[in-house]
Structures are given as C-alpha cells and as structure tokens.
Homo-oligomer: 431 residues x 2
C-alpha cells in the first residue's frame, strides 16, 4: 500500500500538545526522511482558539469541534494530549472505531479503559500506543511490550512520580519536614499548588496500573492498586533509615507471587546500594526484573513538555510505519485477560516499626510478646533517644519477612498497650 | 500471509547459543502464544557434535554443516551465536541473500560489516537484528532505532564493559592496584585469563561503533573509534578523583559537535553525582542524550548467557511477527551514510593532569607558563605530598575546556622541563 502522506490530528494544545505540534512542524523534513512519507499535522483541537500559546499555528489548523478531526479521512493518526477521562475516552474510542491509529499521553484513560480501547483497536485493525502515559521520555512501554518479551517478568519497582521523589530527596539530604520540602518543590515548580494528586500516590497508582498490565499481559485497574502516600513520613524516619543503611522512596511495585499479582504504591525502605535507592531529585526510574535479564533499570525525566513529546512522536512514527506498510494486524500483547490480582493481606515483606514507649524496664518484653503472638519475628531492635521529661523512649524495630495482615494486627495490639505511647510509623522494607 | 510455524536455525552452541536453544525449547508454548504460531528450533550448528553441553538437544537437530541450515527452506530465521568474524560474516551474508531473517549476538561482525549486511537485508526484503551484540539483556538497540526516533541524539556515554567496571569499582573502593583488582576479577570469573580484550578497551570499542552508528544513523567502524585502556590508572588517581568529587570510569562516548561525530573509549573523571558515576560492579549502563528527552539511562547486566539470550529471543520474536504478518519492507534507520567521523585532535574537553615535580620555588610558574603557551587554561591546582627524600612533590592540575591537540603538545612540553620528573597521568574529565 503506497501512501503519499500520513495525516495527524491533535486533540489538546496544553503543555504536551504544544510540544507535539511545535516539534511536528519544526522537524517535518527530518521525520519525512525517517518515516518515508511526510507526516502532516492537519488539525488541532483546542477549547479556546483565541488564547495565546507557546506554539504558533496556521489559523486553519485550529478547530474547536472534535468532529472535524474524527470525520476527516485525511487524518490517519489521532494524538490525544487533553488529559482526564472526559471527553478523552469517548473521542479515542470513536477514533479507533473509525479505523484511525491512536497515540495518547493520557494515564487516566489507559489505566482505566485500556481493555475497551485495545478491543476496539483490534477489531478495527489499528493500534493504540501510549508510551507517553508513563515516564515521560523514558522508553518503558515499548520495552515491556517488545524488548523483554522473551522473559517472564517477575516484578517491577519504580520511582514514577518526580514531585514526591524530589520532596523525599530533600527530606533525606536536609533533615527537613515534608511541609518544608513541599514548599521548596512548589517554589521550583516541581509541585502543584494542590499537591494531593502526587503526594497521595494517585498519579503513581495510575502509572503502575498501566505498567502492571503490560508486565503481566493482563488488565490491572487503578482500584486494584494499593495506595499510600508520603504524608506520614517524618525527619526521624529519614534519620533512622540513613543510620540503618536505607533510603526512603515512594515505590510503585508490582510482583507476581504464586500466580497472584499484587500492585502497590507506598513509601518503602530500600537498601542504599540498590539501583533505585540512588535515583534522586525529579528523575523517574523503573526497574524491571526479568527471569532471563535479571534487573534492568530505565531512568530519565518522567515529565515535562519535550520529554513527553519525544514519547508521543516516537509512537506517531511507529504508527506511521505500520500505516505506510499497510499492516492491518498488530501483535496482541494482552494474552492473560483473567490473571488474578490480589489484595494486601497476603503480602509478605519486611517492616520498619517506630514506637514511642514508656522508658522503664520490661517494656521491650511486652512489645516482643505482642509481635511474637502475631507471628512477627524481629530482625533487629534499636532503642533511641530517651526523653527524660516525658519518661519516654523511641524504639525502632526491623522485622523479618511477615504477612501484612499479621503486621497490621500486631500494630493494633501494640497501640493498645499502656507502655506504647504512640506507633510513630511503620514502613515496608523492600529489596 | 498465513503461516503454520516459523523455523529457527541456530549457528553456535556456546554460552549464548546453549541459552537460546534451551529457552526456545523450554518456553515453546509461551512463545507460541506470544508470536501467534509455533517457533520451532529446526537445526543447530556445532563444531564438535560429541561434546557434552549445558543443554540436551534431540540428536537430529545437531548438524556440523552450515549448508543444512542455509539451504533449509523450513528455516525462516538464522540466529548466529558463534562470535568472531570468520566464518560468521559469510554465513550471515548468505542467509540474508537467501531471504532469511538474521538475529546475531556478534559485536565484531556488526561493528565491522553492518553496511554490507544491512544492504543485503534491504535488497532481500528481510531484516537483521542485533540487540544482543551490545549490553546483553539491556534493551539498547531497539530504543535507539525506534523509541528515541523523535530526537536528535546529541551524544551517548556508556559503561559497556563489565570486567573493567568491576576492576575500577574495586580500585576505587579499596585503594588497590590494577593488578590486584584484576586478580580479584579473574578469581570471580569476571575477567578472562587473558584480559587484554577488555582491559585495553577493544570490546568497548566494538560496542561503541555499533551504538554510534545507530545514534547518528550512519556507519561508524571500529578503526574510527579512539581507544585507550585502563592500564595507566593508579591508586593515586583514584584518591585524587575522590578528593575532587569524581569517579573514574572507562567510558565509551560518542558525540556530534558541529556536524562531526567523534567516538572514543578511554578512562574518564566523572562528577560523582552523575548517573553513570553511580554504576558500580559488573553492571553496564548507557546514557543517551536526546535533544527532547534529555538524559535517559539504561542499566543492567551487560553479559552472561541468560541476559544475552533474552535479547536474542526478543529479536527472534520480533522477526517472527514480521514474517507472520508478511512484512517485506523494513523501516530504514541508516539514512546518513556519509556523516563525517572525526579524530581526537579537535576534541574539546577538560583534563586532569598529575605531575611529579621538583619541590622548589618557581616550579609552578614554569609549569603554568608551558600550559599557557599551549592555550591550556588552569581551573584549579593542588600541590600534594612532598617527598622530602626525593625532594619531589606531586601536583594535580584540573584544566578548563581545552583542545586535545593542545593538551598533548603541552604534555610534551611539560615532560621536557627539568623540574618535571614525571607526567604521572592525564585523564579526560567528562560530564
């Protein structure tokens, strides 16, 4: 099938959309060479056509009615950079139904509706690519779909939210509180005025759902991802982590154990010599554990206009190759639709527990008894910083591998003890 | 084009070949699912059929005559895991001529003969894939060919030889000599009894030639790669590097400056907070600088039977998809055949210079005069460890950006000075 040109319709002209539009226009001749035929930006959907933007577009390109893109036969590829579920999902579903290839940067849509969209794409003989939905400019989706295909993926651990990684890096380096680190991040533009979406792990959970689905070739939706934000972390936790040889990172983890997939986002202690423990600042990194490759790490800028544009345009070129070659059948990568996704109760990992306790003899015996009763075995204990006025002391316990349900029961039992003034924190220990 | 099955012929049954054969046999049903049709290992070429091996093969699979693979019409993909230029190159050229897809793990062949092989593949409507030729199980070739296609790659820096990285890591951690670190590496099986191929940078230069060609979409051959091994590094250099906030790594670097590509393998000072500076032990890592993505790092095990098998089998599956879909035309990625590859004279970088000098007044003025005469500008100087008996002192100079040709002339001039007893070392400073 010979083609003169390949037409692109762009939905959205925000941070990512402007980057995509600008780069497609500026590099038209380079991409023509790389694709074999010209890649032509035909229409751009915006909400407010009068708004001033980072990119200057010929006026006849800009439309406010999505039908002018969906119903345009000269548009082969629809690129979505609107974000949010509505109206993005419906527009993408219709584009695929109309046999247009789709490239999207939308993590909510891909985390929530991938099954429907992949199904429509398959029935229409087109494809939907979404490299830009996770990890900005870092190639992640393609390696999972393709380059690591010989492996059984046993697990994946990721630092996939730059805002929280910047905050945790500052807290570790300067011993400051979450509030102070957040203010720094906001001042630098690394955190939103309303930071909840990042801080509470919501952003990371969407991205993990997408990666978990790819790693295990099944569907994992955000509601199946356990989620815990960084809000409970204190300077004390960072101090003890450093003393014990660990970093604290907000990890997005999925593993398959005994056939059950578990996906979770939470702060974790990570041995300081692990690859991911060294990933600092706004960098993102994903470590994939393949049974043949061992650990493979991908690291880079996980957000921003140009890195995300890089991912979007690479997907556009990939679609363009398929269109130019007339490929009507795509390799199906989601082949285990019914894999079991489990909850947290049966998770087994190690834990750090920080307690404020009465500073008197016999206290540790009481604590150890409660842990033992719940089958939690202690790996090490450090008693820290007695406060003579309050007659209290701080105890840090590192456990051996334990079941999450047992650990939670133990924490409840410990809280009920008279000698335990406060359960300061408990944090999972990975790696 | 509907196909019942896809046939694989394997050349070589060494470390990599055995892994490929075993995994193809063990995972036949998994790969059948992933490809859509069975992937059948039909023939394996060995030199000594009687030899005991890690993998047990049905006797009728094993052949000693390559013609039984090249001339077998039921073989669609020829996988080469022999290594070395002869007879691998001729066998691969013939396989491509006979319209078989080729997957190779052979860095010598791909570094030296890629143009010929890619040309034959294109004329025959097939493809030659070589992910396993660089970086073992780390996806590198595919990201360069495809996922970073929207970018202009401005440069690439890599730790691509695990043996030397292990040795340098030990030298840095323990303050030991190269000889002692090499003995440790040999005892652990990380270095060959004859380590020259790794230590002198030959292995890294082959791999860099391949990556440079991909990054700049042109041909770079090993003779165009400047090469300097780790043999001149001493415990002193590591001590000064640490004091100044640097790591020492054997880097494989290619950059394009003013349109001229330069590719070089040599030890380098790297600021300790750079991503590559933290890559320790036998790990490999490649940092790609894209003009859109910024720095992207890929890290993992760069050698070994199973990681390399992962790369080979991923390529086999990729070819199988193309064969199953009947794709006869491949995207051409080498589109700048005549890019200019330059030598070292015009390189501009910073330098570390270590001198043993006479411990008397006026010496530094003499040295500074020689450097100034050669247009080398000094960023900092530290005078170290006067040896009273020998009446000598050690001076460490860090330069500003300078031309390599000027630096070499300056080193010659310094060597000629009476007050300079020895030029201990000079090492390029990157990052």
């Amino acid at each position: 099938v010979a083609r003169d040109s390949i037409g692109v319709g762009l939905l959205g002209l925000g941070v990512v959309g402007s980057g995509v539009a600008r780069i497609l226009l500026e590099r038209a001749s380079t991409y023509r060479e790389r694709v074999g035929v010209p890649l032509i930006l035909r229409r751009v959907l915006v909400r407010e056509p009068e708004k001033t933007r980072a990119v200057e577009l010929p006026a006849d390109l800009v439309v406010t009615d999505p039908r002018l893109i969906l119903e345009d036969d000269s548009i082969d590829i629809v690129v979505e950079a609107m974000g949010g579920l509505k109206p993005a999902y419906e527009l993408l579903a219709e584009a695929l139904t109309r046999r247009k290839f789709v490239v999207t940067a939308n993590k909510e849509v891909m985390a929530t509706h991938s099954s429907e969209l992949l199904g429509i794409a398959q029935r229409s003989g087109v494809d939907i690519l979404f490299e830009a939905s996770v990890g900005g400019g870092i190639p992640l989706i393609a390696p999972l779909k393709r380059d690591l295909l010989a492996n059984e993926i046993t697990g994946l651990s990721a630092i996939i939210n730059g805002t929280t990684n910047y905050i945790l890096t500052r807290m570790a380096a300067e011993g400051i509180t979450l509030e102070d680190a957040l203010s720094q991040a906001q001042a630098l533009g690394y955190a939103e005025p309303d930071p909840a979406y990042d801080i509470e792990g919501t952003d990371a959970a969407f991205k993990l759902a997408i990666m978990a689905g790819l790693a295990f070739r099944t569907e994992v939706v955000p509601s199946q991802v356990y989620r815990e934000g960084i809000g409970r972390l204190t300077p004390r936790d960072f101090r003890y982590a450093a003393e014990l040889g660990y970093s604290i990172k907000l990890l997005a983890i999925c593993r398959r154990d005994d056939g059950v997939i578990r996906a979770r986002v939470h702060p974790a202690f990570l041995p300081a010599d692990e690859l991911l423990a060294k990933v600092d600042g706004v960098y993102n990194a994903v470590q994939i554990d393949g049974d043949l490759t061992g650990k493979v790490l991908f690291q880079g800028q996980g957000a921003g206009s140009l890195p995300t544009t890089s991912a979007v345009v690479a997907d556009i070129i990939d679609c363009a190759h398929d269109i130019a070659l007339g490929i009507a059948q795509q390799p199906q990568w989601r082949i285990n639709p019914n894999a079991e996704v489990g909850g947290m109760d049966d998770l087994e990992t190690r834990y750090y527990i920080r307690l404020t306790v009465a500073d008197r003899p016999g206290v540790f015996a009481e604590i150890a008894t409660q842990l033992g009763k719940n089958m939690i075995s202690i790996a090490s204990v450090i008693q820290k910083e007695a406060d003579e006025t309050a007659q209290s002391a701080e105890i840090v316990i590192m456990t051996h591998r334990s079941r999450e349900s047992a650990l939670r029961a133990a924490i409840e039992d410990l809280s009920a003890l008279d000698c335990v003034f406060e359960v300061g924190n408990y944090i999972r220990v990975e790696g």
